[in-house]
């Protein structure tokens, strides 16, 4: 509205009407009010117009306030008023007929310049192994699933197999009772029935405080598992720092050329021996530290500088704590490691692995009910357990974790579904959420 109009013209136009107020009048665009000859104005119209003009000034003042100008003080001094009413007491607001046009823009992160190292596990016959396929993780140029850069590889899951029966949560155990005494069958089952991408064989019976199985005997189990399945494998020791180097060395030898992941080298054992076994027999080393970014740097540095492990043979496990039991540290530790790597810290640009099975240590995952009377009912544990493992893994996937060591088939299935959805490889029917409020559920 750029046409100028004098008040007297307005008055003329409306003189025959009995106007009490100017309802529905909205004034947009540039406003120029030229008030002359106020004496000849119809009193009702003058009042109405006065009211409208005052309203406008209030709207303007309100906009002024939004812009940070203390408009109420201006009014107060102009009219000698005390306090102005609160802004929300304004009777009406500026009427806007069309949405203000706007374009959403956001920039990409500019300091993620350093790609994460790609690491391949497993070797096919062409590369001196006997695996049917290999698994490659790493290679990211951004946080997982971010639009800043395409994520080159999806997340992978390796499922746990033990070389002896162990204590397990009831809802986990139900899936393995038929194979619990046979690691090879157990390995077959997780690949065929539970869609595991890889298998981890944990040689826990080698612990001198458990069965003290000899390294040689344990290596046989590794051979059995390699025979039973054709996916890449991870070999884990018992966690005994004295025994593990010997056990992993022997296992590495029998798995020569298969490019397995040796789990793990850590600062509290003879990591050099494990690194050497990996180098001698063509494997990858899992560099395991406990929730400490500087320790992780130190161990990676030692593996690279002292033991000459090449960059494409290191994966990190910065430790997974369960949901409710330190996941906040584990999450932030991983997120910091990944961000530091992307921003150029060469000692941290390695893909990561999570012992997501640790989630089963949370009492919420396995107890029948809460030990505390004040708690609300915890509901059936067979549903509580898997979701505990899923949410633990999912959180870490968002922090940058690449590979998950897991236990429950349902957890594996759902974790794969969500991580691959965010990765972008899951197609599904489009759902119209426009009227979700009225959905019948």
């Amino acid at each position: 509205m750029t046409k100028k109009m004098k008040l007297s013209q307005l008055s003329d136009m409306l003189q025959d009407l009995d106007v009490e107020s100017l309802e529905g009048v909205t004034i947009e665009g540039d406003i120029e009010l030229n008030i002359t000859g106020g004496g000849g104005l119809n009193p009702a119209l003058a009042y109405a117009l006065g009211s409208e003009i005052s309203q406008i000034s209030l709207h303007m003042a309100n906009i002024g306030r939004m812009l940070g100008f203390p408009a109420e003080q201006l009014f107060a001094s102009a009219f000698g008023m005390g306090e102005m009413p609160q802004p929300q007491a304004l009777p009406t607001s500026p009427k806007i007929q069309e949405l203000l046009a706007s374009k959403f823009e956001v920039s990409k992160v500019d300091n993620w310049k350093n790609p994460i190292q790609e690491v391949t596990l497993g070797a096919t016959s062409g590369d001196g192994g006997s695996r049917k396929n290999t698994v490659t993780i790493g290679g990211e140029n951004a946080l997982p699933y971010y639009f800043d850069a395409e994520m080159p590889h999806r997340n992978y899951v390796t499922m746990d197999v033990f070389d002896m029966p162990i204590g397990m949560a009831k809802s986990v155990k139900g899936n393995y009772e038929d194979v619990i005494n046979d690691p090879a069958e157990w390995a077959k089952k997780v690949v065929r029935e539970f869609n595991a991408d890889m298998v981890t064989i944990h040689l826990i019976s080698t612990d001198p405080l458990i069965n003290d199985t000899s390294a040689k005997e344990a290596a046989k189990v590794v051979e059995d598992v390699l025979q039973a399945v054709d996916v890449p494998i991870v070999i884990g020791g018992s966690g005994n720092p004295e025994k593990d180097p010997e056990v992993l060395e022997k296992a590495a030898e029998v798995a020569e050329g298969e490019r397995v992941l040796l789990a793990s080298a850590s600062l509290n054992l003879d990591y050099a021996r494990i690194a050497k076994a990996a180098m001698d027999y063509g494997h990858v080393v899992l560099s395991w530290t406990q929730l400490e970014i500087n320790a992780q740097k130190e161990l990676n540095r030692k593996l690279m500088k002292q033991c000459n492990v090449p960059r494409d043979r290191i994966i990190m496990d910065p430790t997974t704590a369960a949901l409710g039991y330190g996941l906040d540290y584990a999450y932030t530790n991983m997120e910091r490691i990944r961000l530091a790597g992307l921003m150029g810290d060469d000692e941290l640009t390695f893909p990561m692995s999570s012992g997501t099975t640790n989630a089963w240590g949370a009492r919420e995952a396995w107890m029948v009910s809460s030990p505390l009377k004040q708690d609300s009912d915890w509901g059936p544990r067979e549903y509580r357990g898997p979701i505990w493992e899923i949410v633990t893994g999912l959180a870490l996937s968002l922090a940058g974790n690449d590979m998950f060591m897991m236990m429950h088939p349902t957890s594996v299935q759902v974790l794969k579904e969500i991580t691959q959805t965010l990765y972008g490889s899951i197609e599904s029917e489009e759902i119209d959420i426009t009227n979700w409020i009225g959905a019948e559920v």
Binding site: I63, G239, S266, D328, M367, A395, T434
Partner: protein, 469 residues
């Protein structure tokens, strides 16, 4: 906030070191302003008229990048937004994600009241406190203003929790507002069709309002700009939560983009974000699958920038992980990980009471302590210095050894032989392998307790006092 060093804040303070804020110096206070552990209003002198200009300038500099929005009234009031960072370790995330669980107006009245009560009563003990859920979202499924008004009225009578009124029909929303006008509910939602009417309602009743623009960030920003120009910045943004496939990936991208733009300083879009994991129920028929997927979607958007969300499943296997993942993300990463390594008394122990060992990892310690205290077990509890690592990991990593435990006991000045009648230590089940070493090191009787302290009461009943050998 626009400044990041205490020095920049200090310039605006009175510099009198008066101590009224509780800090010895203005510089110390300035440091707390930057880490947001003090409010500017804690400085009483700066509120005097002569400092008005400085106060206003500093207040504007300290304002969080993402606006803080208040929903509800009184004790249960919910605050959302207020964040300054994209990663929690850079500071901390403020105002944890608010979880609203739904009811709908075609529900039977009795069922509705029961469900609201279940929502408001749900609690889970955790590290000294109860985790609880926050809000009730009332969905209009009848499209009948009268029916909706009645349902809202019933909810208002039943609970003090903040409310979300859900409908795209302005008449329905108005009926809901009439029934809850003293409760400052959140309106859900304005969309591209109804925004004028909904804006009028938001202004008339002076309540916060959600803007819904499914997968259209231009529209979302346009609406936010328009509402601000009309006179309200009490806005919540819903870019749409699509539950599956590529649409869900796009939703994730939208959340990351909106929050990044806001933190990067685009004021037009710097508002709290709403997620609606409820839509998982539009993709799954089976209730367990739907609950699971809803929990998964809720977890993703609790971690990545959802400030408030509407959920449907009230199964404990959905609510418990939701509560815990929220606590995980919103726990202040600057708070200490450990308790002081020491011998603690639980209840009023005597020389006959059991002596238990745990680690000084705060979570472990508080869990064990609450299991003992809530079952009224009087005992001595040793928090051994494991650098704040839990039992199982500390045994694996060598931070919890027999020598460490012995050292801890000696340093506490407690003498098992003199101060107890039984000369016995109970180890956590997860460090059973230390039993032999421990006996050799300490010369005491060593018992191995259960793997989870939740089972201590039953275990003690069976095994305590120890039988004389």
């Amino acid at each position: 906030m626009k400044i990041n060093s205490p020095l920049e804040a200090y310039k605006f303070l009175p510099a009198t070191n008066c101590g009224e804020c509780g800090e010895p110096t203005c510089m110390a206070f300035a440091a707390h302003l930057i880490d947001r552990s003090h409010k500017l209003t804690d400085c009483t002198p700066i509120l005097e008229p002569k400092f008005k200009k400085k106060y206003e300038e500093l207040d504007a500099l300290l304002a969080p990048e993402i606006r803080e929005i208040v929903i509800g009234v009184g004790e249960k009031v919910a605050k959302i937004g207020g964040d300054d960072v994209l990663y929690r370790h850079k500071l901390t995330f403020f105002n944890q994600t608010q979880y609203a669980y739904d009811v709908w107006d075609t529900m039977d009245e009795k069922d509705l009241v029961e469900r609201v009560n279940y929502i408001q009563d749900f609690k889970k003990f955790y590290v000294g406190n109860f985790l609880t859920v926050d809000m009730v979202a009332i969905r209009c499924t009848s499209n009948d203003p009268k029916k909706f008004g009645a349902a809202v009225k019933k909810v208002v009578e039943t609970t003090d929790l903040p409310l979300i009124l859900c409908s795209f029909n302005p008449e329905v929303l108005k009926a809901g507002l009439e029934a809850s006008k003293d409760r400052n509910p959140l309106l859900y939602a304005a969309n591209k069709d109804n925004w004028k009417e909904v804006a009028e309602l938001a202004l008339e009743y002076d309540v916060p309002v959600t803007l819904f623009a499914p997968n259209d960030l231009d529209l979302l920003k346009s609406m936010a700009k328009t509402f601000a120009a009309m006179g309200t910045e009490k806005l919540v943004l819903d870019p749409g939560t699509f539950p599956t496939g590529k649409q869900l990936k796009q939703t994730f991208t939208n959340f990351v983009k909106v929050r990044r733009a806001g933190i990067d300083g685009d004021r037009d879009i710097a508002y709290p974000i709403m997620a609606v994991p409820f839509t998982a129920w539009m993709a799954h028929d089976d209730p367990v699958s739907a609950s699971y997927w809803e929990t998964v979607v809720a977890s993703v958007f609790t971690i990545k920038y959802g400030d408030i969300m509407i959920l449907h499943s009230t199964e404990p296997y959905a609510m418990l992980p939701e509560l815990h993942i929220r606590d995980t993300i919103y726990t202040d990463p600057r708070k200490p990980v450990t308790v002081d390594p020491a011998m603690y008394k639980v209840g009023e122990p005597t020389a006959d009471s059991p002596v238990l060992v745990t680690t000084n990892f705060a979570l472990t310690y508080y869990t064990v302590e609450s299991d003992l205290a809530s079952n009224k077990i009087d005992c001595f509890l040793w928090a051994i210095d494991t650098d704040g690592i839990g039992v199982e990991a500390a045994v694996a990593g060598g931070q919890l050894t027999a020598a460490k435990i012995k050292k801890g006991i000696e340093e506490s000045g407690f003498d098992l032989k003199k101060d107890t009648t039984h000369n016995t230590i109970i180890l956590p089940g997860l460090c059973a392998r230390l039993q032999g070493d421990m006996e050799d090191e300490s010369g005491a009787n060593v018992m191995v307790g259960p793997a989870d302290s939740g089972r201590l009461p039953g275990w003690l009943e069976k095994n305590w006092p120890p039988q004389k050998k």
